[in-house]
């Protein structure tokens, strides 16, 4: 039962909308008509039954009233005449008048009546016609009962009315069904057609993927707005489809461009003599060029990602990994000299560099690195350094060992001049003077040479010194020369710098000493200042002396380079060389800015970088 109902519902659900509309219309109409018809019929049956009863009550009253006289004067004929007039009431079956003693007085009987009046009022009304109604009324005269009137009527009228109503309902049903069918064909045009159009359009879009299809709008109701929404949706889909197609094409182009670029890069990388690699932002190395596999004798699969750690020299590995991870974390360039094991097991020095490539958003997209073999260069450097060290050692020991005999020459020539001046003639004394002078100059020269060699040596680990206080000490040392020359020395506040105190004092002493020495007729004015250049402090020593011809700007920093004859300006010509050696020892630079007669400004820089780190880097490059 439930299944059947569901299946019938389902089949209704599957009907075309036009058919549904028709069925709905018909069902609604039928229900409305049948229900209202039934309601009217039931109400009318009840009301009409009451109405009939009232009607026949009234009739009985009139008849009873009109038969008082015949009863009072015992005139059954007159009563029968009165009753005969009742034949106009076709639903009256019988009318009976009984005397007060119950005997029959007068009767009326419809010709087709199936029964007549009972002969006595006491007799119950016949039960043969079950639907007939009985009304019994006393006939009163001046309040006294003189007889009884009994009426019986049938309910055929109700049946007649029922038949009439039924026929009306049926007729209306028929008429409204015709109207419903006509309406539904109209509704089909109004409702089902646009839906069918939509369905067709949807099918066409699905079949052809042509999003340019549009549905024609037939009305301004919900279906019309549905069509509008559908069309909007189609245009949105259309534009999205266009965008998608374009984006796909762009993507394909970009991909092929990227592929081309990758191929180009790989080709370039393969054709370079250097070892090239690329790494993901995470540090995994995803490409090594052929030079790598040839050098290490390992396959790409063996050295990709972190497999490369196996050919790094064990002594370099820890630092290598630390710096690489630091670069990955910060994006700073990677820079390291380290040793790789060649296929034959020999370690060779390489200079490795890697830079992060960033996309438009600044995000690291990959690392590109190169490794240049610097083994031979490194060996040459080592040789050079050793030679330099030997030379320095030689210069130091030579000048150190020379001090003693030269001092002897100087001392003893003075002793001879003092004690034996009477013995010597004028020419002998003149030669002795040359000897004494030469010995003195030789001693100064050896002292300076010794200072120069010392300037290249590192005196332990220098801390920070206050350049201002170093300058004050220097000025105290030079105090006599400053006073003799009537010089004015001024200085800005000077910073703390990383340098050995004695070294900085050497630099200041040489530069200020030069400024005092190479003066003109004016009294010397010397100014010392320092500016922060970000990575380093730049010191300046400015004077108003004779200046330097620009063509000698480089030359003056060489050992024993002198621009003037000794007679005019004394000195060994080694002071600026010492300054340069000291400054460069601490990673700085020294130069001069000057013109003849315009004074000179000597600049030198001292990096902020702690000598500790720099010395480590230098050590590793040296080691």
């Amino acid at each position: 039962m439930v299944n059947r109902r569901r299946s019938s519902l389902w089949s209704f659900r599957d009907l075309p909308i036009a058919r549904k509309l028709l069925i709905t219309l018909l069902a609604t109409l039928t229900a409305a008509l049948v229900l209202s018809g039934a309601g009217i019929l039931i109400a009318d049956s009840l009301l009409f039954r009451g109405y009939l009863q009232n009607d026949f009550d009234t009739l009985a009253q009139i008849v009873a009233d009109n038969t008082t006289a015949p009863l009072a004067f015992n005139d059954p004929r007159a009563a029968a005449e009165t009753l005969a007039a009742l034949k106009a009431r076709t639903h009256l079956v019988i009318a009976c008048i009984y005397r007060v003693n119950g005997t029959l007085f007068a009767t009326y009987r419809r010709p087709d009546a199936l029964y007549g009046c009972p002969s006595s009022a006491a007799q119950p009304p016949t039960e043969r016609a079950g639907g007939d109604q009985t009304i019994s009324r006393p006939i009163l005269l001046t309040g006294r009962r003189i007889g009884t009137l009994v009426l019986r009527y049938d309910l055929a009228q109700i049946a007649e009315r029922r038949a009439l109503y039924g026929a009306m309902v049926l007729g209306m049903l028929l008429a409204s069904s015709i109207i419903a069918v006509l309406l539904s064909s109209r509704l089909r045009a109004i409702i089902a057609m646009p839906i069918a159009q939509l369905v067709n359009a949807t099918r066409a879009v699905a079949d052809t993927a042509d999003y340019g299809i549009r549905v024609q709008k037939l009305s301004e109701d919900e279906l019309g707005s549905l069509v509008d929404r559908f069309n909007e949706m189609l245009s949105v889909i259309q534009s999205r489809d266009d965008h998608l197609t374009t984006a796909l094409r762009d993507l394909e182009t970009a991909l092929s461009e990227a592929e081309k670029a990758r191929k180009r890069f790989h080709f370039m990388a393969e054709s370079m003599p250097q070892k090239i690699f690329t790494a993901e932002p995470s540090g995994n190395i995803d490409y090594f060029n052929q030079q790598w596999t040839e050098f290490t004798g390992l396959s790409f699969e063996q050295i990709q990602n972190w497999g490369w750690t196996q050919f790094i020299h064990p002594d370099d590995l820890e630092e290598n990994i630390r710096l690489w991870q630091q670069s990955i974390a910060t994006g700073e360039p990677f820079h390291l000299q380290h040793r790789f094991r060649r296929a034959d097991g020999v370690y060779r020095w390489h200079l490795s560099r890697a830079h992060a490539m960033r996309d438009a958003q600044g995000k690291i997209s990959m690392w590109i690195g190169s490794n240049t073999e610097i083994h031979e260069q490194k060996e040459k450097e080592e040789e050079l350094r050793r030679a330099n060290d030997d030379l320095q050692q030689f210069a130091y020991s030579a000048s150190h060992d020379l001090q003693e005999p030269i001092r002897n020459v100087a001392v003893y020539s003075e002793v001879v001049a003092r004690r034996y001046s009477k013995v010597l003639d004028a020419e002998g004394q003149k030669f002795l003077g040359f000897l004494t002078e030469g010995g003195r100059r030789l001693a100064t020269l050896v002292d300076d040479l010794l200072a120069y060699t010392r300037a290249g040596a590192v005196e332990g680990l220098p801390g920070t010194v206050n350049a201002g206080s170093v300058l004050q000490q220097t000025l105290a040392t030079l105090g006599e020369a400053i006073r003799e020359n009537h010089a004015i020395v001024t200085a800005d506040p000077l910073p703390e710098v990383h340098i050995g105190e004695a070294h900085l004092q050497q630099v200041f002493q040489n530069l200020i000493g030069n400024a005092l020495k190479y003066r003109n007729e004016d009294s010397p004015r010397i100014h010392i200042s320092a500016t922060n250049q970000g990575a380093a402090w730049r010191f300046a020593v400015e004077d108003n002396g004779i200046g330097i011809d620009p063509q000698y700007k480089e030359k003056i920093f060489g050992v024993f380079k002198r621009l003037h004859r000794e007679q005019k300006y004394g000195g060994t010509g080694i002071g600026l060389a010492i300054c340069q050696r000291v400054v460069e020892r601490y990673g700085g630079r020294i130069w001069v800015d000057s013109a003849p007669g315009k004074g000179a400004i000597f600049y030198f820089t001292l990096p902020h970088l702690a000598p500790q780190a720099r010395s480590t880097a230098t050590d590793s490059s040296a080691g």
Binding site: N66, T68, A69, P70, A72, F73, N74, D75, A78, L141, T142, G143, R144
Partner: protein, 194 residues
Amino acid sequence: MDPVNQIRLRQRRQYTRRFLRNLAVLLSLLAGLWQRVGAADEQSLEYQVKAAFLLNFAKFTEWPSSAFRSADAPLSICILGDDPFDGVLDQMIRGEAINGRKLAVLQIKRQPRPQTCQVLFMGKTQKDIRRTLADLGSGVLTVGEEESFLREGGMITFVIENRRTRFDVNPAAADSAGLKLSSKLLSVARTVKK
């Protein structure tokens, strides 16, 4: 046949027998009655009917209030001269009332005074009816027994037709006396004088 039905059958026979015996007794009684009635005065039956009619005439008639002495005065039916009703009328009016008035039966010998009688019956024995009626005045329903009664100015008169008691009416006379006779009364009259 089961015992219960046997008992019923026996009972039914007993009832039948008893009924027949009672019927016989009743028939003999009726026969006796018939003889007595036949022997009785046929006139008394006729006057019983006439007494009933007389009462009913009053019921179908309207009097003006001037016809009564007072508001609670009874409606009096007067019998002039000999009384043919032999007390039947007195029995009939017992407990009756018309329009709230009690009924009374009066035996009078001569012309009644005004407002005494509302119905006046004049029997066959009455002489000189014309004069009596002429002197009567208004407010009295006059009933007689002779065919000539209406001609002499009476309002209703009894007639015997096919051994049935009926009556003729002269509405004009009643009208001139200030009385209204119900149309129902007229409808059952034998003839109505025009």
